[in-house]
Amino acid sequence: MTRRADLAAAEALGLTAEEYAKICEIQGGEPTYVELAIYSLMWSEHCSYKHSRPVLGRFPTSGPRILQGPGENAGVIDVGDGWAVAMKVESHNHPSAVEPFQGAATGVGGIVRDIFTMGARPCVSLDSLRFGELSEPRQRFLLDGVVGGIAHYGNCLGIPTVGGEIYFEPSYEGNCLVNAMSAGLIRADDIVRAVAAGVGNHVVLIGSKTGRDGIGGASVLASQEFDETLEEKRPSVQVGDPFTEKKLIEACLELLNDHHVVSMQDLGAAGLTSSSSEMASKGFVGLDIHADRVPLREADMEPWEIMISESQERMLAIVEPAKLETVQGICERWDLDCTVIGEVTDTKMLRIHWHGEVVGDIPARRLADESPVIRTPSVKPDYLVDEPVAVDDASYPPPKDLGAALAELLAAPNIASKRWAWEQYDYIVQANTVQIPGSDAAVLRIKGTGRGIAFANDCNGRHCYLDPYRGAKAAVAEAARNLSCAGALPVAVTDCLNFGNPEKGEIYWQFEQAVEGIAEACEALDTPVVSGNVSFYNESFGQAIYPTPMIGMLGIYDDVDIHLDGAFKDEGDVIVLLGPPAGFVDGSEYQKVHYGRVEGRVPDVDLALEVRLQAAVREAVARRLLKSAHDCAEGGLAVALAESAIASGAPGGAQWTDPAAAKPERSGRWLGADVTIGAVERPDLALFGEAPSRVVVTCAPGDLEAVHALAGDLPFAVLGVVTGESLRCTMGDEELLALPVSELHGVYESLPDRLA
């Protein structure tokens, strides 16, 4: 006799009375425990997107290059010559806060499975991380664990981790962010969608055995705020096995690319439950799952545990009976378990069998499609202001020593070199890396073609906190700008929207505003959103994180040889600032580091200007008129110049063999710069203030005219020349700062000192 679950059981699983009533209506009576467990997971925020779905429809998601938009495991973009890129980003915030090493490792594992499930070979990973301030020992522990976990898993898989970003703000103290992005290459004709089809076909489970990993893990963890009960949730931590995943990649790509399987789906959040119900729902078919046939790691597991287990490194495949032997042979060759656990039916029901008894029988489509939709009435938060900060001497006294202020900014963890992290990642495996980490964008070639792809991750959470609409819009613009500086054409976006508790009106308002900002920028820049992830409930003890809509962007090259980095190249090259000269203190790193404040009204991106600026930069790169191009972001103009000077020691994207060395390798000397800014009342803001749509470029003197012509009526200021071994800034006859590049390099590479 199968037990029936009442309202009390439903509420214990986090369902509301209305949701329970709906379940009873769909099921035609009280659900079984297995059914209730399945509904509770599939209708959780994590799986159903119940708060975000009504808003996400705002995104542009299609375009001539877009082969697959949102709704599949990953979005797919045509990149030319019959090649396509599948890409997606996903959060693993809460698991990483509980156990940083394994949380981050399994985050990488999950997103990589999303990519090869489509038939694409994963070719790149990027990771966007947020922590509290490094002065806190717990934050250093989290950073160390997360970076170590990403390295452990990604390096073992042989997927280059080529970029990402790391920021530190107090708002992430109780709730770090780990956003793992991956992309893979696939022939455009070979894309496989996770749709069950063919009544009578086998349902096959491939990979690791099933244990009690993450029971209620991702789904429950991701749907609740952190509080004192955190400790009790620990036993559900999942351990990643990158070795098994590596074998899975090879076996599954063989199965998919040689058409041995009808379709495939990875087991992510809610495990077998979500993968089987989604495949059935999309295929308008039913699936019979025999839970008792699932190979177990632990004896005595209940059917509901088996259905929701989040054991890692497992895939579900639909296989024609005639091909089963071939599929089993390939799995055997890779020492992978491969077990028939069910079959495709015409019932349109997800039916769970347990030793001959039906313990669950759910209409697959209604489970997947009729999850509740919740739209919280949004409320504009009180802390927002409508005017920029008035920078009077009383509240923002200018620093006496601008050189010291620059050094202070370069040493700030948000700006300082993240070499400590990315040297732990294998960024070169697969032999495609053209531009290594540490510059605006990561660049890879596509073997056998002259083509290339580039990736950038961006989001300034502080800006999004001060104005989620402007901040999110700026994140899209900056990601595109980073790609344009490298000479790549931005073509598509994957996003990871990290917010607090969406049941609160203020948080919901931030979410709506950010989505609007992203949508407008993506429309203007012609970069549709092809995939993504929403992570709510990023709060601890009622304190929400800064809204952090992380943008992952793909850029493409017809000819990857034109790619450019931000390093100064030759003595005598002319330095030009493209874009508006004025910088603002509002929300800037300068404001945070030097004044210890976060306030004001961040400047808005002029999207029309942004589009023209980026087109001009790309055109100049394509015509090989530029020697370097570098986005002017955190820390403003002075930091951008310093970074280009520091990078000069490592021409062509190379790097120092000894990071502690005071002198760069091979080039023999640093390249500094002599620049002059126009007369202003607050030179510190001209140097350190921030504004969108600004790029620092260099060119040979003979090309200056051509560059100027390309810029048209864009703001265009010749700042000075690449010269000497110091960075020197003047305003008229007044020397504002002059520092040897070797010294700037020393402070820029000082992050490890803060981790000791």
Binding site: T244, W334, E423, V434, T657
Partner: protein, 244 residues
């Protein structure tokens, strides 16, 4: 290159479960007109008549227990041992180097980096012995710029063996600065005497931690210095063939 256009040299790249630079080694070798390359599956016992065997980098068997500890018991490894005993050229890169030490084909062992972290970094390598089949396209004292990427690359060996190795020219590559001077600052893993690559007494088995297969194309970030090691193998076997 000989004007008589000799037969291309046949390379084999072993694939263990968890190898992840097997495709890179295959690709690197395929950029040489004087070479052909095949994969060799770890469960096989036949080397398919190849003239040189590459044990690639990666994480064979997940590097579980110890790096290379399980891979060395693969069926293919007995064939590799027999091949080496007959004087065949065997090159182990990174995890392949670790496997060769576990299998007893090379002396010493590779332990955890002194920095206790995985390190992916360009290093400079000084060619200490150019009289090996793996370095003959270089001159002694040449500096090669090649990437390392490992967690267990810290070469260690007992002092007596080390002394014998040095006397016998078995220390082939050392970590050094841009001017070719070995030293702690240039050593990414704490290896004894900055050793990056060694060969066996008969100089036909060679292991190195850096990844020459990721440095064969100037258009990529890795540069092309790694070509000279593969070229050395090709030259050695081409000359041998022409001579025979």
């Amino acid at each position: 290159m000989s004007s008589a256009s000799p037969q291309p040299v046949r390379f084999g790249v072993v694939v263990f479960p968890g190898s992840n630079c097997d495709a890179d080694a295959h690709h690197a070798i395929s950029t040489f007109p004087g070479a052909t390359v095949d994969y060799l599956w770890h469960k096989d016992t036949d080397l398919k008549g190849v003239q040189a065997v590459v044990l690639p980098g990666g994480f064979s068997y997940g590097d579980y227990l110890r790096c290379g500890a399980i891979a060395r018991f693969s069926p293919i490894m007995q064939a590799v041992k027999d091949f080496a005993a007959d004087g065949g050229l065997v090159m182990g890169i990174c995890n392949g180097f670790q496997t060769l030490t576990e299998a007893g084909l090379l002396p010493g062992a590779l332990i955890r980096n002194t920095g206790l972290k995985f390190v992916c970094r360009y290093v400079n390598l000084r060619v200490e012995n150019a009289e090996t089949p793996f370095t003959r396209a270089c001159d002694e004292g040449d500096v090669l710029r090649i990437v390392v990427k490992h967690n267990e690359g810290n070469y260690t060996v007992d002092p007596e063996t080390l002394a014998a190795m040095k006397a016998n020219g078995q220390v082939v590559l050392r970590y050094c600065d841009a001017d070719g001077v070995p030293g702690d600052a240039a050593n990414p893993n704490g290896a004894v005497e900055h050793i990056a690559g060694i060969c066996n007494e008969t100089r036909n088995v060679f292991g190195m931690m850096p990844h020459p297969e990721n440095s064969v194309e100037a258009a990529l970030a890795g540069g092309a210095d790694g070509r000279r090691l593969f070229q050395s193998i090709i030259d050695t076997l081409t000359v041998a063939e022409v001579a025979s």
